[in-house]
C-alpha cells in the first residue's frame, strides 16, 4: 500500500505555478539556486582537490607559512557582498509585488481559528477550508484569527501571511491556471495544526459565476445591516447630532478630535479602513471624530457582544453605505445603554444604567 502511494500520480519536485506572482518568485529562487550551486561546487571541488594535491607526503613535511593575501581577501569579501546586494534588491522588488495588492482587487475575509479557515466573500457566500475564485482576477485576502496565531499559505501561489488575533494582515493573488491547490496553516497552532488545511479552487469564469449564484444566501452586507439595528448602532448613527453618519466614509480620511481621551491638534486625520472601523467598535474611545464628546456614550463592543465574524459583517455593511442610505431609526428602539452579555442573552432587558461614567 505504501509502495503504491509512493509513486502516486501527484509526485512532483516543484510546485505548480498557479498565480501571477509565482514566476517572479521562481526566477528569483532559481537565481539564488544558481549562485548556491556555483559557490558550493567551487568549495567542494577545492576542498577535495586540496586534500589530494597537498596531502601529507612524509612526516617531515613542513609547508611554508602563509599569513594572508590582502588582494585575495578583498576579492572574496567584495564578490559575496556584491552578490548579496543583488539578491537583496531583487528580493525587495519581488516582495513589493507580493505585499502591495492592486487597488481593484476583490476582497475576501479569512478568519483562522483552531482548526479551520472561515472565508467570507463580498457577496455573502461563506466557505470553510475552501475558496472558490475565478481565473485571472485580482483577489485580496484580509486575514485575521480568533484565538492563536495561524498562517494562511497557498504554496502554488507563493503567498503566505500570518493570521494574528487582533490584527488584519493582507495578501493578494491573481490565479492563472484552473485547478485546485492546497491551503495550509503554516504557523503551528495546536493539536490539529496539520488538519487546518483546505483547497483553493480556481475556476473558469462561467463556472465561477454559476457557483456564486448557487452559494448566495444572505450576503454579508445584509447580515451586517441586521446587526446594525440589533446592536443599536442605528440609534445614534442615524442622527448627525448624536454621532457621525457612516455614509461614504470607507477609505476616506476622518478628522479626529480626541485620541485615547486626549484632545489632538486640529487637522489630525486617520484613514477609515477596516482596522479603524474595528477599533472604533471594539474600543470607541480610541479615536473620537472631531466635534463629538470624549468619552463617548457608545459602549465598547467586546467579543462576547460581537464575534469576529459579525464584526466583519458590520464592517462590510458600513463599507457599502452610500449617501442617504442610513436606515431611519424606528421608534421602538430603546435609548442607548451599555450592553452586557447578560443583556444580550435575554435580549431586551431593561437593567439599571450602571456605567454612568461613559
Amino acid at each position: 500500500m505504501m509502495v503504491n502511494s509512493m509513486f502516486a500520480e501527484g509526485f512532483q519536485l516543484f510546485p505548480h505555478q498557479a498565480s501571477t506572482l509565482a514566476p517572479s518568485v521562481d526566477w528569483l529562487y532559481l537565481f539564488i539556486v544558481a549562485v548556491n550551486v556555483a559557490i558550493t561546487v567551487l568549495v567542494m571541488v577545492l576542498l577535495v582537490a586540496f586534500a589530494i594535491i597537498f596531502r601529507r607526503k612524509s612526516e617531515d613535511d613542513l609547508p611554508e607559512p602563509m599569513h594572508g593575501n590582502v588582494p585575495l581577501e578583498i576579492f572574496w569579501t567584495a564578490i559575496p557582498t556584491l552578490i548579496c546586494g543583488v539578491m537583496f534588491l531583487w528580493g525587495v522588488k519581488v516582495w513589493s509585488e507580493i505585499v502591495v495588492p492592486p487597488r481593484d482587487a476583490t476582497e475576501l475575509y479569512v478568519v483562522g481559528r483552531q482548526w479551520m479557515w472561515k472565508i467570507q466573500h463580498p457577496g455573502g457566500q461563506r466557505e470553510i477550508n475552501a475558496i472558490h475564485v475565478p481565473v485571472g482576477s485580482n483577489f485580496k485576502l484580509i486575514v485575521t484569527a480568533e484565538d492563536v496565531i495561524h498562517c494562511f499559505s497557498i504554496p502554488d501561489f507563493r503567498i503566505k501571511t500570518d493570521a494574528v488575533p487582533g490584527r488584519y494582515n493582507q495578501m493578494w493573488f491573481n490565479a492563472t491556471k484552473p485547478g485546485k491547490y492546497h491551503i495550509y496553516c503554516t504557523e503551528y497552532c495546536g493539536t490539529e495544526h496539520s488538519r487546518m488545511i483546505g483547497w483553493i479552487h480556481v475556476m473558469e469564469r462561467e463556472d465561477y459565476a454559476k457557483w456564486l449564484n448557487e452559494q448566495a444566501e444572505g450576503g454579508d452586507g445584509l447580515q451586517g445591516r441586521k446587526l446594525f439595528s440589533k446592536l443599536q448602532c442605528i440609534t445614534c448613527h442615524s442622527d448627525a447630532n448624536k454621532a457621525p453618519l457612516l455614509e461614504n466614509i470607507f477609505r476616506k480620511d476622518r478628522e479626529i478630535g480626541y485620541m485615547d481621551g486626549k484632545p489632538v491638534p486640529p487637522g489630525t486625520k486617520v484613514l477609515a479602513d477596516e482596522a479603524y472601523l474595528r477599533e472604533s467598535i471594539r474600543n470607541p474611545n480610541a479615536k473620537i471624530h472631531r466635534g463629538f464628546a470624549s468619552p463617548t456614550i457608545m459602549p465598547a463592543y467586546d467579543r462576547d457582544l460581537v464575534t469576529e465574524e459579525e464584526l466583519l459583517q458590520v464592517i462590510t455593511y458600513i463599507r457599502s453605505l452610500k449617501q442617504g442610505e442610513t436606515p431611519t431609526r424606528t421608534e421602538e428602539t430603546p435609548t442607548p445603554q451599555p450592553i452586557t452579555s447578560a443583556d444580550k442573552a435575554s435580549s431586551n432587558a431593561t437593567e439599571k444604567t450602571s456605567g454612568s461614567a461613559k
Binding site: A8, F11, K160
Partner: protein
C-alpha cells in the same frame, strides 16, 4: 615572508626544560577517585567531563524524539502517533536538543576543558560558579524531564503566545521554568569564560596570540551574556500570563503577541550563533593542525567571529517577515541578515586557503572537518533564500527552513563537535581510538545527513509546512527518503558512542602531541593533563600556529 623568519621565539623560563620534564605520575583523572571528587570537583577539566556525560544523555534523548518524528512521517496519514503525541514529540526534540544539548555542547564541554589550558592558566576565573552552572543545568534538565513525565508540552520550542500562554494543554509552566533555569547555566558559563579570557591569560598571551578556538568561545560567551537574560524575562512573562491569567501577550486581554516574538528572537536568533560559532572555532584548529600550517587570515577570522556575534543581534526579525512586520523594518532586517553571510563566507574561504600548499593529513578529525565544511556551506548558502524577502515569504515555516537550520545547527555544529571530540580525545582521556571506525562514522554521518535533510529543501519549496503530523500523499517519496537517511545518520552518530568509551578503557596510550599541533594543550600538557594543567608559566610564541620548529618525534599519528 618565509619560514626562516618565523622560528619559534620561546619566552618564559620553561622553554629549555619542557622536553626534559618527566611524565607526572598523576593526572586530573586519577589524582582523586572518589565519587565526591567528581561530583564536587572544581577542576574545569572534570566539570567539562560531567557536562560531556550530561549532554550525551540529552543527545540520545533528543535523538529518540527525532526518530519518532521521522518514523511518523514515513506515511502521509498520522498512523503511528496521535497529533497530540506528535506535537509533544517535536517540542521535546526541539527543547532538549537546543537547550540541553546544542547550547552547552561545545562551550561547556570542550570550552571548559580547553579554554584555560589554551590561554595558559590553571583554571577558569570562578571554579565554584563553573560547578554551579553544571548543577543549574542539571536542575533545568530535571524540570524539563518532569514536564515530559507529566505528559509533555505541545507549544513547540518557540513557546509562541497566545498558544503557549492560553491555549496549549501541556505542562508549559514546568517546561518554561526549566528553560529559564538552564538560561542561567548558560549565562554563568559565558560570564566565566569572558572574565577568564580577559583576566587570566598567561604572561605574553596577547589577544592576537590566542588560538582561534578561544576567540570563538569569547564571541559565543558574549552572546550568552547579552542574549540569554532577555529570553529569561520573556519566558518569565509567559509564565506570569499563563499562571495568573494576566494579559501581557494575549490579545484577548489587550496584549500584543508580536511583542513576544520580538523579545524571543532577540535571544533565539543569536542563540544559533551560540551553537555554530564554537564549531567554527574548532574547525580553525583542525584545519591548521592537519594542514600543518597557520590559519590563513588569522586576524580576520578572529574578528569575523566577533562580527558574527554582533551582527547576530540585529537580524532577529527575519523570523517574522510574514507576521505583519512593518515593511520598512522588514527591509532593514533583510539587509542586515545578509551582513552575517559575509564573515561566514570569509571563514570558509580562509580555511580552504589554509589547506592550499599545506601538508594535509587525512586523520579522522580532518575527515570530520571535511564533512563540517560540506554541511556548513550548504546550510549557510541556503540561508540566503531566507534572508531574501521575495523568497522568504514562500519558504517561511516550511520544511525548507527545517532543512536549512538543521544543516547549520546539526550538520555544522555537531560535525564540529564530533571533530573536536576526536581531535582532543587523546588529550582528554590519554588514549587513542580506532581511526578506521572514526572515519567510517564521519562518512556515515555525512551521507546520512544529506539523505535526511536534502530532500527537505524540495519538500519546503513544494510548500510542506513545519510541524505537520499528516501531509498530502504526493509528498511521501521525499519524506521516505528523509526517514531512510535518518536511520543511516543515527548509526553514524551512535558509532562513536561505542568505540570512544571502548578506547577510554582499552585504547592505546596517547602521546603528548599525537597530531603535531602547536597550541598549549598539546605542547605543554601531558595527555591527560595534570590536575593544575601547568607547573610553570607556559611559553607563549609570536604565532600561535607556528609549525616550523615543532618537535617532530611527537607526531606519531599522521593519517
Amino acid at each position: 615572508m618565509s619560514a626562516i623568519n618565523l622560528d619559534r621565539r620561546v619566552v618564559g623560563e620553561a622553554a629549555s626544560t619542557h622536553e626534559a620534564t618527566p611524565k607526572p605520575a598523576t593526572n586530573y583523572l586519577n589524582h582523586e577517585t572518589t565519587i565526591a571528587s567528581w561530583l564536587l570537583t572544581l577542576d574545569h577539566k572534570r566539570i567539562g567531563l560531567l557536562y560531556l556525560v550530561g549532554i550525551s544523555l540529552m543527545f540520545v534523548l533528543g535523538g529518540a524524539f527525532a526518530g519518532l518524528i521521522r518514523l511518523e512521517l514515513m506515511t502521509p496519514k498520522g498512523d503511528l502517533l496521535t497529533g497530540d503525541v506528535y506535537n509533544k514529540s517535536f517540542t521535546a526534540h526541539g527543547v532538549v536538543m537546543i537547550f540541553l544539548f546544542l547550547i552547552p555542547s561545545i562551550p561547556a564541554v570542550l570550552g571548559n576543558f580547553l579554554l584555560p589550558i589554551m590561554i595558559g592558566t590553571k583554571d577558569v576565573a570562578f571554579p565554584r560558579l563553573n560547578l554551579l552552572s553544571f548543577y543549574v543545568y542539571a536542575a533545568g534538565g530535571v524540570f524539563l524531564a518532569l514536564a515530559l513525565l507529566l505528559g509533555g508540552v505541545d507549544t513547540g520550542w518557540t513557546f509562541y503566545t497566545p498558544l503557549s500562554s492560553t491555549y496549549a494543554n501541556g505542562n508549559v509552566m514546568v517546561a518554561a521554568l526549566g528553560v529559564f533555569v538552564i538560561g542561567f547555566s548558560s549565562i554563568l558559563t559565558g560570564l566565566n569564560f569572558v572574565v577568564t579570557i580577559h583576566r587570566m591569560r598567561a604572561p605574553g598571551m596577547t589577544w592576537f596570540r590566542m588560538p582561534l578556538f578561544v576567540w570563538a568561545m569569547y564571541a559565543t560567551s558574549l552572546i550568552q551574556i547579552l542574549g540569554t537574560p532577555v529570553v529569561a524575562i520573556t519566558i518569565a512573562l509567559v509564565g506570569f500570563e499563563r499562571f495568573l491569567g494576566v494579559g501581557i501577550f494575549d490579545p484577548r486581554l489587550g496584549g500584543d503577541p508580536i511583542l513576544f516574538q520580538h523579545l524571543f528572537w532577540f535571544y533565539s536568533h543569536p542563540a544559533v550563533y551560540i551553537m555554530i560559532l564554537p564549531s567554527l572555532g574548532v574547525a580553525s584548529e583542525l584545519v591548521s593542525t592537519f594542514s600543518r600550517k597557520g590559519v590563513f587570515g588569522y586576524h580576520i577570522i578572529a574578528c569575523s567571529s566577533i562580527a558574527i556575534a554582533i551582527f547576530g543581534f540585529v537580524v532577529w526579525a527575519h523570523h517574522m517577515f510574514t507576521s505583519g512586520l512593518s515593511q520598512y523594518a522588514a527591509m532593514v532586517f533583510s539587509v542586515l541578515t545578509f551582513s552575517v553571510a559575509i564573515p561566514s563566507g570569509i571563514k570558509v574561504f580562509s580555511w580552504l586557503a589554509t589547506m592550499y600548499k599545506g601538508s594535509v593529513s587525512l586523520a579522522s578529525p580532518m575527515i570530520f572537518f571535511f564533512g563540517f565544511i560540506g554541511l556548513f556551506t550548504i546550510g549557510g548558502m541556503t540561508g540566503l533564500f531566507l534572508s531574501t524577502l521575495g523568497t522568504d515569504i514562500h519558504l517561511h515555516d516550511t520544511y525548507f527552513v527545517v532543512a536549512h537550520f538543521h544543516y547549520i545547527m546539526v550538520g555544522g555544529a555537531i560535525m564540529g563537535f564530533m571533530g573536536g571530540i576526536h581531535y582532543w580525545w587523546p588529550k582528554i582521556t590519554g588514549r587513542m581510538y580506532n581511526e578506521t571506525l572514526a572515519k567510517i562514522s564521519a562518512a556515515l554521518i555525512f551521507v546520512g545527513f544529506n539523505f535526511t535533510f536534502f530532500p527537505q529543501f524540495f519538500l519546503g519549496y513544494m510548500g510542506m509546512p513545519r510541524r505537520y503530523h499528516e501531509y498530502p500523499e504526493e509528498l511521501q517519496v521525499l519524506n521516505v527518503l528523509s526517514t531512510v537517511g535518518a536511520s543511516v545518520l543515527a548509526i553514524g552518530y551512535l558509532t562513536p558512542g561505542i568505540y570512544l568509551p571502548f578506547s577510554f578503557f582499552f585504547g592505546k596510550k596517547a602521546p603528548k602531541n599525537p597530531w603535531g599541533a602547536t597550541t598549549l594543550e598539546w605542547t605543554e600538557c601531558e595527555s591527560p593533563p595534570s590536575p593544575h594543567n601547568f607547573d610553570h608559566n607556559p611559553p607563549v610564541y609570536d604565532h600561535v600556529y607556528d609549525y616550523s620548529t615543532l618537535n617532530k618525534e611527537a607526531a606519531v599519528v599522521s593519517h
